[in-house]
């Protein structure tokens, strides 16, 4: 049975640099790095020591709060360096990859015959548990709480997002296997949201929802809110299709293979296109001879919620996209009052993007104004499809009023749900940061 999700509120940001549908197989990077900060809320306990040899799938570190949650090495090779930050916090574990890759064998499994407990344990030992994230709080799922449902968004609506239909083509068997396995982890339903004419619509054992409308229709947070919103005390789990493919391949072959097809997008790429890469790959290797790195912002992820990385940084663990856009670190004469034709605006205040809804813009990273107190009202609501008062929730999060945070919908949101309101914010407030910090506080205080 399918239930359609149509949203009207939102905003499609059309940018220059859509990835062309050709895939280059990149050669193996020489260095990989896994960054604990990619797994928000995890305190890592190191297993791998500098100089140790590891196989792909061997544990590098585990979560201090739950020792069953292991974080695997994406490649086989030698741990060359553990980078530490302030107070000896682990920032990254670097691995020099071997020329020939060796995988730890976790054994072939028959998903249909596994019990829930077996599935769980298999995900733990193989290091696949971090693929399962939870709402509320948008962190790696707590295995001790039973989810009321599992949500999978197979529709990407973010600006320049990788086309999942393209990147995951031919992986139907893996997807189905993974879904068969993880659907045992919940008493409730597994909801898959798909775009029009999607290959994912043929999956069995799930409830399919057809999604249409502007971004954030593809955000799993939007879909949860439309299908089965989270109430106090409830937990839902979220997995991405590309991570399901990894789980599926693990069950079918016994190998943990973190290779994926990622999109290189944005105006600073000479040829925006797709490329295969393994999680944690070095950015300079993946973008080699394609990137104009002069005054460029490189982002692991999309322009709304991705993380800024250096050219000598590494691909984020969950990301299937690298975006490169120009830095906007220049002054613009009378930029605040002259008519604007080359930028996007949600208003019509001498801005003309409303005249050309299909034009693709080459936006840079300039904030187009300074940070101010909240002044304008009613604009966030136009791009925020959840049944939540966005400004009131943000203010509750800012003043850390736990009762209000709870009452106004704090359990239902993740930072990415506030990416569009942050984009259009006239006062240039850091919405996603406010939400992230508020969720961390809620998690700490309310559990």
């Amino acid at each position: 049975m399918s239930k359609d999700i149509r949203i009207k509120k939102g905003l499609d940001i059309k940018l220059v640099g859509v990835a062309e549908k050709t895939t280059t197989n990149s050669s193996l990077s020489s260095v990989y790095a896994i960054k604990p900060e990619d797994f928000h809320g995890i305190t890592p306990k190191l297993v791998a020591k500098e100089g140790a040899e590891v196989k792909a799938g061997d544990t590098l570190f585990y979560s201090k709060s739950d020792e069953r949650i292991l974080f695997p090495s994406p490649v086989s090779g030698k741990v060359t360096e553990v980078i530490r930050g302030a107070r000896r916090r682990v920032m990254a574990v670097k691995i020099a990859a071997d020329a020939t890759q060796v995988h730890t064998d976790f054994g072939v499994k028959d998903a249909a015959k596994m019990s829930a407990e077996e599935v769980k344990n298999h995900l733990f030992t193989s290091g696949c548990w971090p693929f399962i994230k939870q709402r509320p709080y948008d962190v790696v799922a707590n295995p001790n709480q039973a989810p009321k449902a599992i949500f999978i968004s197979a529709y990407a609506s973010a600006p320049l997002a990788a086309d999942l239909e393209y990147t995951l083509a031919g992986k139907e068997a893996e997807l189905q296997t993974a879904i068969t396995a993880i659907s045992k982890l919940t008493e409730g339903k597994v909801h898959v949201s798909v775009g029009a004419n999607s290959m994912f619509a043929n999956l069995s054992g799930v409830e399919i929802h057809k999604v249409s409308g502007p971004h954030p229709s593809g955000n799993v947070g939007t879909q949860i809110a439309m299908i089965d919103p989270i109430n106090k005390g409830e937990v839902v789990w979220v997995v991405t299709p590309q991570d399901l493919v990894v789980i599926g391949e693990l069950l079918l072959t016994g190998k943990l293979n973190l290779q994926r097809t990622i999109a290189l997008t944005g105006s600073q790429f000479e040829k925006p296109q797709y490329i295969t890469a393994i999680a944690g790959a070095s950015i300079s290797d993946v973008t080699a001879s394609n990137l104009d790195n002069d005054n460029t912002r490189i982002i692991s992820g999309n322009v709304l919620s991705g993380k800024q990385v250096d050219i000598d940084g590494f691909l984020g663990y969950y990301d299937n996209q690298i975006t490169a856009i120009p830095e906007g670190d220049d002054y613009e004469f009378f930029g605040w009052n002259k008519p604007v034709f080359d930028k996007i605006s949600a208003s019509r205040a001498l801005t003309f993007s409303w005249l050309t809804p299909n034009k693709k813009y080459d936006l840079d990273t300039n904030t187009n104004g300074e940070h101010r107190a909240f002044v304008v009202t009613g604009s966030y609501e136009n791009v925020f499809p959840l049944d939540i008062y966005p400004m009131q929730l943000l203010k509750a999060f800012m003043i850390k009023d736990l009762d209000e945070m709870e009452a106004l919908g704090g359990y239902e949101v993740a930072p990415e749900d506030f990416a569009l309101t942050e984009f259009i914010c006239v006062s240039k407030q850091p919405h996603q940061k406010i939400i992230r910090e508020g969720l961390d506080l809620m998690r700490q205080e309310l559990g």
């Binding site: 940001i13 919103p229 109430n231 106090k232 005390g233 322009v303 709304l304 800024q308 830095e327 906007g328 670190d329 002054y331 613009e332 004469f333 009378f334 930029g335 605040w336 604007v340 930028k343 996007i344 605006s345 949600a346 208003s347 019509r348 205040a349 001498l350 801005t351 993007s353 936006l363 990273t365 300039n366 904030t367 187009n368 104004g369 300074e370 940070h371 101010r372 107190a373 002044v375 009202t377 009613g378 609501e381 049944d387 939540i388 008062y389 400004m391 009131q392 009452a407 106004l408 919908g409 990416a419 942050e422 984009f423 259009i424 914010c425 006239v426 240039k428 919405h431 996603q432 940061k433």
Partner: protein, 399 residues
Amino acid sequence: MSLKQNLHNLKEKYKGTKMAPAFNAIHTFLYLPNEVTHGGTHIKAADDLKRTMNIVIMALIPCLLFGMFNAGYQHYAAIDGSLRDNVLANFFTWDNLWIGIIKVLPLVIVSYGVGLIVEFIFAVIKGHEVEEGYLVTGMLVPLIVPIDTPLWMLAVAVVFGVVIGKEVFGGTGMNILNPALTIRAFLFFAYPTWMSGDKVWVYDAVNRTGTADAISGETILGSYAQNQEVIYSNWDKFFGFIPGSVGETSTFLILLGAAFLIFTKIGSWRIIVSTFIGAAVMGLIFNGIVNANIITDSSKFYGLMNTNWWEHLMIGGLAFGAVYMATDPVTGSQTNKGKWIYGFLIGFISIMIRVFNPAYPEGVFLAILLMNVFAPTIDHYVVQGNVKKRLNRAKVKTA
């Protein structure tokens, strides 16, 4: 070295010092800053607070220009009543504009000058940036005062309004009362003889009292409140060829401004529409009372109660208040449902005060200030509706 580079070097030099906010205010006036995003979204939409405020100022410019011509027109028409026979020929003249230049421009200059000095002082003392709210306030203030307001009075009121109305709450975005109306209210309560009556609305009216050819400089509301006949046609009222505060007489231009604000998505159409609806409803109620013969023409309220409901919408400050004052996003209701209630009550109460307060037959600014105070309460109940929905949902699921 270019101006851009020079300013950049100065900015770096003064970074972190006391004077940095003052310098930044001037710098960012000339150049959009070179700030880039870090964390959060990597791209940002084109508009900032300056652009938003600038749009409101642009919407006010026609009212200001009209007010300048009207200043001269009302002055000369008071001396020579025959000028009113052919308004169009006698309105847009250099003589009229000249009176506007010598009477209205000083009001604008004092309003901006004093207000911005106070803003800069507070920014430097408290170390926050000079925020843009005053750009609009500074333009609103000269438009809502009588033409003969002494400049020193205006200066005192602006200082009061900016400090007590805004800065003590933390500056733009934090204030509870609309700063421009706080300034207007201060003037009204501190210097009432200069703010009401029949001698203040037309330039130099005081000096003409007693002369044979002088006609009264009474506003329409003042005439109605005293159950007098009004000499102006409905078209005069609509287009604004009448005495009144500097910029609020032309309902036509105010509606054009409203259309511009709504089109640019800067002004809330919900508040504007609901304010007019609220005023119309109250007007209809009063018309009904008169029609039902509940009061007679001997009543002191008869004149204004008997005024057609649609006429109420274009006389006095109602339209100006609805479009430029009630829509202030900081002091108004913030939720969309709340905006409907908030606007409706402003319109409703405006006409009520207008009718029942013959000493000063104008209720808009008091109604808006009153509703400013209640806006958070309205929002509270609207938001509680959403909270309740969430609680009910949880109960249904666990039951």
